[in-house]
Symmetry: none
Subunit: 111 residues, 2 copies
């Protein structure tokens, strides 16, 4: 079972929870999330992610991982608006890490 701030991923039960609420993830989305979370703070290349989440080797030019990272970000953003979990490292891949969206936020900052 993987913890990441208010996010909890349970590979064995095929379920991910945000503040205890079950996230509605598709099979691909879930596997991608699991693989990202499993690797903790490390940067993972698209090829590696594709290999483990798709059980196949990625063809050159395939954008599937990008698309699914986007979908995951969408759902995680909806569930936990103030946190960012998937970070892009241009030219390298993605890195999973729970970080607050607005690190410098103070009360009178709005607008």
């Amino acid at each position: 079972m993987l913890h990441a701030g208010r996010l909890e991923v349970r590979p064995a039960e095929s379920v991910a929870l945000a503040d205890g609420r079950v996230l509605a993830l598709s099979v691909r989305e879930f596997r991608l999330l699991v693989e990202l979370a499993r690797r903790g703070e490390r940067i993972v290349s698209r090829e590696q992610l594709y290999a483990v989440a798709w059980d196949a080797s990625m063809r050159a030019g395939d954008r599937s991982v990008d698309v699914y990272v986007h979908k995951l970000r969408d759902k995680l953003e909806t569930a936990l608006p103030d946190w960012r979990f998937i970070h892009t490292h241009v030219g390298f891949g993605y890195r999973f890490s729970p970080e607050p969206s607005h690190p410098f936020h103070t009360a009178a900052t709005g607008r």
Copy 2:
């Protein structure tokens, strides 16, 4: 004895109550409901459900679980129109959880 909002399931007595009224369930319907409710918020695959509610291993392509989920939903919907209990997770299975039919707009949580 299992409570789920206004629904109450008593495996020992082979009876399910909605607001105290007895639900007319067939044997399969009841056993399926018990197994779903027993697992609380977790997602349960059709194979697992079939195994425990039918006492046999599910043959590939068997749609019995789908059909009985439908029947259960029908009866639960009739008894408690504003609540949804059985949620589908495409590619994974079903999840039992009492939720209002018209959510006020919560996260990207289960359907």
